[in-house]
């Protein structure tokens, strides 16, 4: 892969670089105009898409997000050696988002705005990502079933922890299967699908000087937007166990972007997948025969979380049904 001369890149910007510190996912530049972050995008198309939705949001009046700093010749990004290069401000003093319902509602609204902005871009066909998710779910479900078939005889007479794992396996399989089923649901309208990052965490939202900031989204992974919401809601609910927050978030989201029954279906499909529990089980199976106390504890923790998610699923489903009947 062709090397990129960062000093040359830096010269393209107006800011004068004093010091450069490589970080995990970017370079931290100390400049005469403040601290900046230099990012290398492995996929130029994703960078362009990212630039597009950021600008759209800014045009809609939402400026609390990381916008790409333009070069001397007013370009928002550089393309070098098939990779994209952007420069953004380095945000400091970021505080976590308060958990009051109003703030959560605002978060929902901001995410809704982002999705709406992303929807305007037709750079990526969302249907492809949806199909990809379907295939993955089916494959994962099959793999789990195969693993189960392979070990069930061995675990049949198992005792203690192994028995416990074996006991839970069918429940995990059931959820995986249901997730795959919902993903392929005919209620989902392919034309209504849009692409987003696939991963939306609480870290992507932060408070700076009392204002809600949207940050991050520099990873090249993409998926359908409902996955964003599902991941966020799961994260939110498992942290605070407050269904009202979930409702507040969705309320805010729907202010910016209405949710259809198909959207809810897809959201629930992602939520239903017992990904964390399954990972733990898989790990346990792999480590079978090697007593590892930590493994069982993690396993139980994942189980507790999955049980909580079951409650979240019902809440979201009820909301979907309520919206449908109105």
């Amino acid at each position: 892969m062709e090397k990129i001369d960062l000093s040359e890149i830096c010269r393209r910007y107006r800011a004068r670089v004093i010091h450069m510190t490589p970080l995990e996912d970017c370079y931290l530049l100390e400049t005469n105009r403040g601290t900046k972050e230099l990012r290398i995008w492995p996929r130029v198309d994703v960078m362009r898409w990212s630039f597009a939705w950021r600008e759209r949001m800014a045009r809609q009046g939402f400026r609390e997000l990381e916008r790409f700093i333009r070069t001397r010749d007013a370009k928002p990004y550089l393309v070098k050696a098939s990779r994209g290069i952007t420069l953004t401000d380095h945000l400091r003093h970021i505080e976590p988002v308060p958990t009051d319902h109003e703030t959560i509602r605002q978060c929902g609204r901001i995410i809704g705005m982002m999705h709406a902005a992303q929807r305007e871009s037709s750079l990526f066909p969302a249907v492809d990502f949806w199909r990809q998710e379907q295939l993955q779910a089916v494959a994962e479900s099959r793999r789990a079933r195969e693993l189960w078939e392979a070990v069930r005889a061995r675990y049949r007479r198992a005792e203690g922890e192994r028995r416990r794992v074996a006991e839970l396996f069918p429940f995990v399989l059931q959820r995986m299967q249901r997730s795959a089923d919902l993903l392929a649901s005919s209620r989902i309208d392919p034309a209504a699908l849009s692409v987003s990052h696939g991963e939306l965490h609480r870290d992507n939202l932060g408070m700076i000087d009392g204002r809600l900031y949207l940050r991050g989204f520099f990873q090249p992974t993409l998926s359908v937007q409902q996955r964003d919401v599902a991941v966020f809601l799961r994260d939110l609910y498992l942290t605070h166990h407050d269904q009202a927050q979930v409702d507040a978030f969705l309320d805010g989201y729907e202010e910016a972007k209405p949710l259809s029954y198909g959207d809810y279906t897809l959201m629930l499909a992602f939520l239903a997948a017992p990904t964390e529990l399954w990972k733990q089980m898989e790990k346990y199976m792999e480590d079978d025969g090697q007593p590892d106390g930590g493994s069982a504890a993690e396993f139980e923790q994942a189980l507790v979380r999955q049980q909580a998610v079951d409650g979240l699923l019902r809440r979201v489903a009820e909301r979907a049904e309520g919206a449908r009947s109105e």
Binding site: E146, E149, R152, A153, R156, R163, R164, A166, E167, L168, F169, P170, F171, L173, Q174, R175, R178, A180, D181, L182, A184, S185, S186, R187, Y261, Y264, T265, L268, L271, A272, E300, L303, Q306, Q307, D310, L313, R314, V316, A317, E318, A320, E321
Partner: protein
């Protein structure tokens, strides 16, 4: 019941209903039918009793509330999952896998004379197959084979029938062949016997009757027959009115020849295969009752038949006692019968009279029983006991009869009924001891008839006393079978007492029997123990149980349903069997298996 490869074979077809609260069967994983049978020895008969245990595991079917892709009514339903089991929960292993357990009670009684060696008796479940009719309904079919029973009688002809043409082979034929198919033959042989002895004449009828019952076993005909509850007149005619003795003899010999031909057996197999072909619902239903009766009635009479006989049968004097319920026979018909017999133009009339006396004698005994059990429930039992006697007689003719207790079917508890019956019989046995002996002499057959038709009447008749005085040694040959699909009270409990008595010896057993079961054994001994009373039966259980450990042998057969990703290798690993063995047992040539295929797994 049929005879295959020298084994007594009972086709079993049972429908198992899962309780509504249980998860329905989505996919059968494993199914196993294990005979849990003990062999009890008595002075006069061997009782094979116990049950067939059905064990299985299955994956529950998805309920309506668990729709599949696109099938969900609402998202709420779609995302409602069964909660995870709590840690430390010792409930069912594998939430997905449910277990099914079911018992099919079995009770077979075989005359001692049919058993050479106790140790030779064992039960095998063969040809096990299953079908999921609905998620809550499982149909199983199997064949229960009892080995170690002499299917032919050797030199057991009654003293009164020295020239009987019924050879051992013929007797076997009687046992094995559906009389309904070969009733002519049966008739002939019986008539021939009648020639030899006057009393045989009376004999012929019960046997014929039982034959017909065994015919009834054939499922397709069973319902009809039972509902008609009587042997059709023309059949009776055929049986009871031979054209001439010479002709009969001729036919008999022909039939004997035919019997020995292999095709006869094949025929009977086909017939018997379907014998149990009825759903043995755990819910009591008339159909089930009959089914049960039918199932076990192969050789013998089904007492259920007696419960619903038509009085039309009375028209035919010789047969009437079979048609009428013993305790309901009206006197008029019985007398009419008697008068007909007495006035029969037949050359055998005098013999008739004597046989009739014998019958009366028997009847008296029966009567005594009936009197003792005037109460409603006891009466049927008494009737049954009589029937049993009748069966015995019929067996004497050479056929092993399987007697099904209608009560067992009705009460849904074969064992319980057996005991009730046994007690009744024991009482009867005491009262009718003399009559029993008379039966033994060969007149016994007549007694069966007499019991039924004349029971009520006989009470009033002095003749009875005369008859009683003719005791003769005879061996009873009887196979009684009760197979019930209904759950017994003791379901889930093992009847097996083997462990308790495993250290005891046979001698000890006998000694113990003498001590602990004194009262019951005395009566049963006196009466040659046609039917032990409940205490006797219990004592016998205790006494014989310890020899079971040594003498019982089981053959297990597992059923494995191939899953999507199963291979012969995985199957062989799972059951620790070489692939070659699996191929051999299942008569497979290729080493490929397909999903849904059923493999028998030998153990």
């Amino acid at each position: 019941m049929a005879i295959q490869d020298g084994l007594l074979s009972f086709a079993i077809k049972e429908t198992i209903f899962l309780p509504a609260e249980r998860a329905g069967i989505g996919e059968l994983k494993e199914l196993e039918l294990v005979p849990d049978i003990e062999v009890l020895e008595n002075q006069s008969f061997i009782s094979i009793t116990g049950c067939l245990q059905l064990y299985g595991t299955y994956e529950p079917a998805r309920g309506a509330s668990e729709p599949t892709e696109g099938g969900a009514e609402t998202l709420v339903e779609a995302v409602t999952f069964a909660p995870f089991p709590q840690a430390g929960n010792n409930g069912g292993l594998f939430g997905f896998e449910e277990e099914v357990n079911h018992r099919i009670p079995v009770n077979i009684t075989i005359p001692v004379s049919r058993v050479a060696e106790m140790g030779d008796i064992y039960a095998v479940v063969d040809g096990f197959d299953c079908q999921v009719e609905t998620p809550h309904q499982l149909l199983i079919e199997a064949e229960l084979k009892i080995a170690g029973i002499q299917l032919t009688e050797q030199g057991q002809q009654s003293a009164l029938q020295p020239d009987s043409a019924a050879s051992p082979a013929d007797e076997a034929a009687h046992m094995a062949e559906p009389y309904w198919v070969s009733d002519q033959k049966a008739m002939q042989s019986e008539v021939e016997t009648a020639e030899a002895d006057m009393s045989v004449r009376a004999d012929v009828q019960p046997q014929t009757d039982s034959d017909m019952h065994s015919d009834v076993d054939v499922e397709s005909r069973a319902a009809e027959q039972w509902q008609a509850e009587a042997i059709s007149p023309d059949q009776r005619d055929r049986v009871a009115r031979p054209a001439s003795l010479e002709e009969l003899e001729q036919r008999l010999s022909e039939l004997e020849r035919m019997e020995r031909e292999p095709h006869a057996e094949a025929e009977e197999l086909a017939e018997y295969a379907a014998m149990f072909d009825r759903p043995a619902s755990p819910l009591p239903s008339s159909q089930t009752d009959y089914g049960d009766v039918t199932a076990s009635a192969e050789y013998g009479e089904v007492t259920g038949a007696w419960d619903q006989p038509a009085l039309e049968a009375d028209e035919y004097p010789e047969m009437s006692f079979h048609q009428a319920p013993p305790w309901e026979v009206n006197r008029a018909s019985a007398r009419e019968e008697q008068s007909r017999w007495e006035s029969a133009p037949d050359a055998t009339a005098p013999r008739f009279a004597s046989s009739y006396e014998a019958e009366l004698k028997n009847t008296r005994g029966v009567e005594a029983q009936a009197e003792g059990k005037e109460t409603g429930s006891a009466r049927p039992a008494a009737g049954e006991s009589r029937i049993v006697e009748a069966n015995k007689k019929a067996k004497e003719a050479g056929a092993v009869e399987a007697r099904v207790k209608a009560e067992a079917a009705e009460a849904a508890e074969a064992e319980a009924s057996v005991k009730a019956e046994a007690s009744v019989e024991a009482e009867a046995a005491e009262a009718a001891e003399a009559s029993v002996k008379a039966e033994e002499t060969g007149v016994a057959e007549a007694k069966a008839e007499a019991k039924e038709a004349d029971t009520v009447e006989a009470q009033e008749e002095p003749d009875v006393l005369e008859v009683q005085t003719a005791p003769k040694p005879e061996e009873e040959r009887e196979v009684r079978v009760a197979i019930s699909g209904k759950p017994t009270e003791g379901e889930g409990e093992k009847l097996n007492l083997t462990s308790i008595f495993s250290q005891a010896s046979r001698i000890q057993q006998e000694a113990q029997a003498a001590e602990s079961a004194e009262s019951s054994s005395s009566s049963s001994r006196r009466a040659d123990a046609y039917e032990p009373d409940s205490r006797t039966l219990e004592a016998m259980h205790n006494l014989t149980s310890f020899i079971r450990g040594k003498e019982e042998r089981y053959s297990k057969l597992k059923l494995c349903i191939i899953q999507r990703n199963d291979t012969l290798e995985s199957i062989s690993q799972r059951y620790s069997l070489p692939i070659s063995k699996i191929l051999e047992v299942n008569k497979l040539s290729a080493d490929q298996v397909v999903e849904g295929q059923i493999l028998y797994i030998p153990e």
